[in-house]
């Protein structure tokens, strides 16, 4: 059993009581709400006549269904409009802070929480979205939950939870030039499996994580759930505190110093005990691309696709080959693409856009490729424009959009058509994920997506080093 890890410390300090079922009732420090997974939860409160227990610990925004090419209401999609109106009605009725389309704080929920300084180390956080693990980059225990659990958090600010085991994942050494945080997490999932994190919290560390900025740590933690781990986190350090300092909801003045002392105390102790430890050589990681229908089906960009007979479980890739239409043993390099998408809660922050813009600058998107850049928040958009990134992208032939989830999940007008292949900086290559049941998704870093857009096919971004 783990001991003296951040997980243990945060769990113990937020444990309210042991329920008669044996589960722990866990206090949730921050609850983030978006339009898709909450209307039914608010209805359940109404049916039961329950108020929100801690409305001041609940913040909401719009991200999943919003169009990114216009912001005029009512939306052309009647369902998206009704869903948006429902959230607006719910936040008004229940008295919740809300950042709608007219707010300069609007954006993808996992981008704005950190950006506003709401996400802080040593805290518990919940949101009706599986990528809530993103916030673990701050040393936060962040749980993705279902709608009935959203109801529980609204009604009680707590969840009934089972304690997880803790797996420490060390990424050692130095990443080669052209290798990014996305390649690190895709490699981790490839090695440990899409179900490998079952029952675990993932604690990421080692030289590579120590050197990462917060945007990069968020990319790694974001995809913990794709490895089967409900939560993933990085211990807070000076990089973390420097990021939080000065943000709108960050502690101010002397309170910030007190906060840092507390945050430091919540990090895993040097002699902490783990249920499992995994070491990965960061210097051996390559730009990584998924070829199949789950994020663990990935190869280095210079590798060829796996031959089923070489795998321990050949049947597991049958469906992937049927859907994708590739031949086992073929190279991933040179795979033609139709669409390039830079965005999503995984990779839509300023440093992601900078990395992509470095590749795109002074070059042109290949003929016939539709390329989109969708900033993660209104604030990221503003900062990117101040740095001239919008011009870099539009001059190269990318579309520059408003903030939202966009083509990650097909709940808004940004979708694949037919059998299109999309080079995507998002987090899921599931069948149908990007809106076409026959569509195909290749996950990769934003820089790799930009390089694919310029060439109309998968290339090794290191050619632009």
């Amino acid at each position: 059993m783990s001991e003296r890890t951040l997980y243990d410390k945060v769990w113990d300090s937020h444990a309210v009581t042991t329920l008669p079922t044996g589960q722990t009732q866990l206090f949730i420090g921050l609850h983030l709400v978006h339009e898709v997974t909450t209307p039914q939860a608010f209805d359940m409160l109404r049916e039961r006549g329950l108020p929100i227990a801690y409305p001041q610990r609940t913040f909401s925004t719009l991200d999943h269904v919003v169009p990114t090419d216009m912001r005029v209401r009512p939306f052309p999609d009647e369902q998206a409009e009704a869903m948006t109106a429902a959230l607006e009605r719910n936040v008004r009725e229940f008295g919740i802070e809300f950042y709608g389309l007219d707010s300069d704080r609007q954006g993808i929920v996992h981008v704005i929480g950190p950006q506003l300084g709401l996400t802080q180390p040593g805290m518990t956080l919940a949101c009706g979205d599986s990528h809530t693990s993103t916030h673990g980059a701050f040393g936060t225990l962040a749980f993705g939950i279902g709608t009935s659990q959203v109801r529980d958090v609204l009604a009680t600010q707590t969840l009934a939870m089972d304690r997880l085991k803790v797996r420490r994942i060390n990424v050692n050494g130095r990443l080669p030039l052209g290798v990014h945080a996305k390649d690190v997490i895709l490699t981790i999932i490839r090695q440990l499996g899409v179900g490998g994190g079952k029952g675990y919290a993932y604690e990421y560390g080692g030289d590579v994580l120590d050197r990462m900025n917060m945007d990069e740590r968020m990319t790694v933690c974001n995809m913990s759930i794709e490895g089967g781990a409900l939560v993933g986190y990085v211990n807070p350090d000076q990089t973390t505190y420097d990021y939080v300092l000065g943000r709108p909801f960050a502690p101010k003045g002397e309170a910030f110093d007190r906060a840092v002392a507390y945050w430091r105390s919540m990090a895993s102790d040097p002699d902490a005990g783990y249920d499992d430890v995994v070491d990965i050589d960061g210097s051996a990681i390559e730009p990584t691309v998924t070829w199949g229908i789950n994020p663990g089906q990935a190869v280095g960009v210079l590798e060829s696709l796996p031959r089923p007979e070489e795998l321990t479980d050949p049947k597991s890739v049958e469906k992937a080959y049927t859907h994708m239409g590739w031949e086992p043993g073929a190279p991933i390099l040179g795979t033609p693409i139709d669409v390039a998408f830079i965005g999503s809660c995984t990779n839509s922050r300023l440093s992601d856009l900078v990395a992509a813009a470095r590749v795109a600058e002074g070059r042109k998107v290949a003929d016939g490729v539709k390329a989109l850049v969708v900033p993660g928040s209104a604030d990221v958009k503003k900062q990117a424009e101040a740095a001239g990134l919008d011009r870099v992208f539009t001059e190269a032939g990318f579309q520059w959009r408003e903030a939202g989830c966009s083509m990650c999940l097909a709940m808004n007008p940004d979708k694949l058509n037919g059998r299109e292949v999309c080079a995507s900086s998002s987090n899921r290559n599931f069948i149908g994920r990007q809106g076409s049941p026959e569509g195909r998704t290749l996950l990769m870093s934003p820089a790799m997506v930009a390089a694919a857009a310029l060439n109309g096919k998968v290339v090794d971004v290191r050619q632009y080093n």
């Binding site: 300090s13 009732q25 227990a53 802080q120 939950i145 279902g146 600010q157 909801f249 309170a255 906060a259």
Partner: protein, 206 residues
Amino acid sequence: MNEIKQVGGRAVVVRGHDIDTDRIVPARYLKEITFNRMGEYPFFDERRDGDGNLVDHPFNEERFQGAEVLVVNRNFGCGSSREHAPQALYRWGIRVIIGESFGPIFAGSSVLLGMPTVMASSEDVGRLMALVESDPTAELTVDLEARKVRLPDGGDIDIDISDGHRNALTTGTWDSTALLLDNMDEVAQTADKLPYTSDFEGPAPL
């Protein structure tokens, strides 16, 4: 709330590892603001071709209609947190899912609906799948207290479920809100002890 100690009936088999919740309910149906129609959507795209015609899928087969037990392989319900996925299966008629393993959020949401997800070994799941596919009238009973699946021939197989989930189901407290509301004084005490609720000036709306 009902105590759920034994649950079962006829079964349906959906084979395959890592079946994600996007495949169980495509995202476009998440734009509905109630769960009322979710029973129409389980495996919607997998059950149809590009023109909307029904294709071979266990949920389309006449012999599996009315099934209350779903038997699946490894990491079922991985991916998106959408409760629409367990809601869709429940509203279609499923009352218990037996599999090798489950996505953590899917399993957590399922128990709150009173739909247990129980785990069995790969070999036993394979046996169950073969049994159900050869005889769709076979009745399976999941006994949560004994941690067994009872088979029609009098045999049984071992299953695993967390103590917390099992106890919530067998004591009828799987809809956790009432249980959690019992302790709101202790919730306030825990909150007050956390330095960030008072000592750090936030978070609170500016």
